[in-house]
Symmetry: C2
Subunit: 433 residues, 2 copies
């Protein structure tokens, strides 16, 4: 089954750039298989399996919603130190499916672990038995519909038959396409860096384009490295870097039952042992991980439904990062700010409104607001240098920066969002069918 990439890269529904794709090639210890399990009406890859031949250490962060999907429950219940596989399906979120949805995953994990154990016997010098609890699941799609357990289970032999021990850019692209729901573009990113003197790779794919039909969509992010890092170090690195990347983006302020970002390390690179994320030998890796996560997170935003502009909101000199974040998201989630940006209107009054409603104590005489480099507000008043025509011209850019100095401290936070267009309403108000 071929992929017509041109469909994804020339869509008129999304004019934002981000059409530059890095080539993800081979990463030691990771195998990818994709198939169509006919979960959609028309055939497309909808099932993606990652297989870690030698196992992988791992860490994940999940949705903060109080209602979570069955696969998130499964992942949280399985505390296995090393995992052997990550299986992702689209079309069905396995949320609000009750015990049946959970049992479906159990069945799939049992079948998959059995088949992977056989595969181990065939291919490995020291075969390991794969246990069902060594399988993690990512699900995304409609909620409340019966989980297609059998359809997925029946595709396991085909998925296994497709396992190759050398990956290439084509299979990574297929994986990124295979996890998409209403995304218009696949999302991939990579960095190469060093831990001590050892060269390692960090590869990632993601999906997400706002909360969307049919019922809702999800942000999924999967990061892979051949570095050798413990679960604890992976967890700390992921938590540290997620705050300013995946947790710094907002399409519409809504949150799914299925959100999940996971980080896998195969350990094949045999770098020196790292016990502390402040160890300076992990610094380069830490920065590279941040780049990969930010790259993917920005791609999710720029693929936001109906988005015509990518907006960075930089809140500076705040008392705490928490305060800066509250102000940043108060702006990022304001429908009035987002519609003004879509109308290319330098409507600074709405920015002021959104800063005020965040509930953080302000000293107006210190507040500075800029669009890009254009100073709009200073000392609680419109800047004397403000020239609306000039700023209106700036608003025509595809990438908009809102720069705000609160002036009460030294902490910063940047949030990323897109504008609200008529297209957004169109996409989201269309009846699911």
């Amino acid at each position: 089954m071929g992929i017509n990439l041109s469909n994804f890269f020339t869509s008129k529904e999304n004019n934002l750039k981000m059409n530059n794709y890095q080539d993800l090639e081979h990463i030691d210890g990771v195998s990818i298989s994709t198939v169509s399990a006919n979960l959609y009406e028309s055939e497309r890859d909808d099932l993606v399996m990652f297989y870690f031949r030698k196992g992988a250490n791992h860490a994940s962060v999940y949705t903060q919603s109080k209602i979570v999907s069955e696969n998130i429950k499964w992942n949280l219940n399985k505390k296995n130190k090393r995992v052997k596989s990550l299986m992702i399906n689209t079309r069905n979120a396995n949320a609000f499916t009750g015990k049946k949805g959970y049992h479906g995953l159990q069945k799939i994990a049992e079948e998959l672990s059995l088949r992977l154990s056989e595969k181990q016997k065939e291919d490995e010098d020291k075969p390991e038995k794969v246990k069902p609890e060594q399988v993690l699941f990512g699900c995304t799609g409609t909620i409340g519909e019966e989980f297609p357990t059998e359809k997925i289970k029946n595709k396991i032999p085909e998925l296994i038959s497709k396992i190759k021990y050398t990956q290439n850019k084509y299979i990574w692209m297929k994986a990124a396409l295979g996890i998409m729901t209403t995304d218009l573009k696949p999302k991939l990113a990579m960095e190469e860096c060093k831990i001590g003197n050892t060269k390692v790779k960090i590869y990632g794919i993601a999906k997400g384009s706002g909360m969307i039909q049919p019922n809702m969509a999800t942000t999924l992010g999967y990061i892979f490295t051949d570095a050798d890092l413990s679960n604890e170090i992976l967890k700390k690195l992921l938590k540290k870097n997620i705050t300013t990347t995946f947790n710094a983006i907002s399409c519409d302020g809504d949150t799914s039952t299925n959100d999940m970002v996971s980080f896998f390390s195969t350990g094949v690179a045999k770098n020196l042992n790292i016990n502390n994320i402040n160890d300076k030998r992990i610094k380069d890796f830490d920065l590279s991980l941040h780049k990969v996560l930010l790259n993917l997170a920005k791609r999710v935003v720029s693929d936001g439904e109906g988005a015509s502009k990518f907006v960075s909101i930089n809140i500076k000199k705040c008392k705490s990062e928490t305060d800066a974040k509250k102000i940043a998201f108060s702006i990022a989630n304001s429908p009035l700010v987002k519609t003004a940006i879509s109308g290319e209107d330098p409507n600074w009054g709405r920015i002021v409104m959104a800063v005020g409603k965040a509930g953080i104590n302000l000293n107006l005489s210190k507040l500075i607001i800029l669009f890009g480099d254009f100073k709009i507000v200073e000392r609680g008043q419109l800047s004397e240098r403000y020239n609306e025509a000039e700023v209106a011209e700036y608003m025509k850019n595809e990438e908009i920066e809102i720069n705000i100095e609160i002036g009460t401290g030294s902490k910063n936070f940047t949030a990323y969002t897109m504008d609200f267009t008529k297209k957004y309403i169109e996409i989201n108000s269309d009846y699911r069918s």
Copy 2:
């Protein structure tokens, strides 16, 4: 200057009903004057003065925003027990206008109190000197523009010349129209009730239709009664009833720098003394005040920009009212829920998403979700009785009820909102001009 009411009642931009108007007639102790101070390019009433001949007790609630307009600062600074006048202007919010904006109000208050003192000498048996601090201000319109102090001040003689001691439905309608900015319809409400055996009236006007251009708009509500109630009782009654009325509405989750609801009592009705809002002799008044506030609040929502549907979100059986409120607003402010309703889509998955993201602990086995009377979700699953065609038919109604039982306690909260339409984006993304 005549009013062509048909302009307001037949607009195609807003299809929601609420075209039924109660007749507000005379209320003892309140006089209304309206004029055009030419604050807009085309002539319309943009300045409304309420004059309390014998003074009025009063209480107000203001925006929770950390950035407030100069008139709110003025009102908060003036702690006079009895007020003589409330002056409301549109077109200019007097926000982000610095000290000059505040001094403008000072000048207007000085001139107005001087002229009203003269009026007292002419008309009253026991004339009282009116002090500047006995004037309250309501401002709404563009922020950051210089406050038109002189234009307003110059109209004071005309406003005073128009004072009549008997009001009628026409002057109340003019007042409601005079405080509008981008509202499509004036908002008025009234109730008659008893305190003990004394008949009293509660009249109210409001403005607001979401946060809007030119820079932002505001919710203003002004309630008047001839009852004799202390400032303290007015404050308690207002606070108690605002929670479930003006503070239960959401158009887009945004908050203005100028929001204000004030309650004035002229005391002319000479009812018995009330010292406690739990006194059963105030019960009828309490309920009537709630009706007036809710009536006005609903009119603000139904006039929401581009609104095609009025949505009530009833959260029941929650542990606390705070929890119920959080869940209600999580749904009311979700762009995905609001667009689904605009598309007449019974997209219960988005309701589930919004319940989950509110962050309140849930017991899914107890969660029940209904659209109107149609049960959608029960015991953490889609109801067996769910019939999508039936519910899709229900979604075509102009008034939609989302009924949710959390099942963890006994507290309830209802939020009111409207849908998000393409018209909303159109109105809010148009360049201010």
